[in-house]
Symmetry: C2
Amino acid sequence: MFLPEPIQRLIDALSRLPGVGPKTASRLAFYLLRSPDELSSELSEALATIKTDIAYCQRCYNITTAGRELCEICSDSRRDQNLICIVEEPLDVIALERTGAFEGVYHVLDGALSPIEGIGPEDLKIQELMARVEGGEVGEIIIATNPSMEGDATAMFLQGQLKGLVARVTRLARGLPMGGDLEYADQNTIQRALAGRQEMK
Amino acid sequence: MFLPEPIQRLIDALSRLPGVGPKTASRLAFYLLRSPDELSSELSEALATIKTDIAYCQRCYNITTAGRELCEICSDSRRDQNLICIVEEPLDVIALERTGAFEGVYHVLDGALSPIEGIGPEDLKIQELMARVEGGEVGEIIIATNPSMEGDATAMFLQGQLKGLVARVTRLARGLPMGGDLEYADQNTIQRALAGRQEMK
């Protein structure tokens, strides 16, 4: 193409981000070119340091600032260390924390079981979870893997592993999402909502 | 929030890009964190140099590599230097070049007339265009401003300015939907619009 190399290079790099096609990449690149120096330099610096400044909590495997052994949640004495919520990704921790409705701690698996993609139990932080459970006095484990094939398989597997070791193993409720429309819900969701119906008190 | 500062900083910077909300920014940040070092470093370096490595062509005001006086198109002897296509933005040049249907050169106005936003003729590269027209032997000027209120107003204004100075002043044919954006139009639409350009009377 006839584009100057510096901007082509930026467009190429932006195009590699998920959900960013060549046209969006061009728009972003030209937006950055026209906006104050400070935006591109701030973004550049944040990107330059992200890999070195972020580490993983040695207990729950959520992200934390490099240099810390435990993340903020694991080292927070107000959190219930005996209530563990298992999630697939750090982004899931953010989603749960945003609700303010959970007072326990997390365990980030770093994915879900997927025979198709060749992801087995040894690829996830399951051994680390078992060590954590065996070493402590965990009262309840909430399995919050995604409501997908892989998430379900992972939940079933974990339930088998944890049986007898933890008093209570629960899973996030399935049902109709808030604000959703019954007529637009898929069959599986409605089936689950029916099966999991609850007494009105 | 409880997020480690390095990733929060990256999310904040990404959120300032157009069309990127806080959730998309989080997704992108975590994607960058998980992908090979090379992607974030490549993006970081491209961003760091974009402002200093890009300059503007002193003839058409399109972007070019810093250190060059004229852009690749203006310095290309195979291009018809007497056929000038006037566009609002460098992105519009890309859209037109992608069609391969134009053999002339460009003039980038750097915007369009907009009384509401307080953008008058003196804010655009119109003086520079007039100097270019008066100094050369321009055979035809194609006005390719966006098919919008501002683009129309700009085209009308330019027509008035250019009358008597240039043999032919044309405008891209309608076929471009009103309110649309030139850079988003597909190649065929742009090609048709180029081929069907009409005399301004």
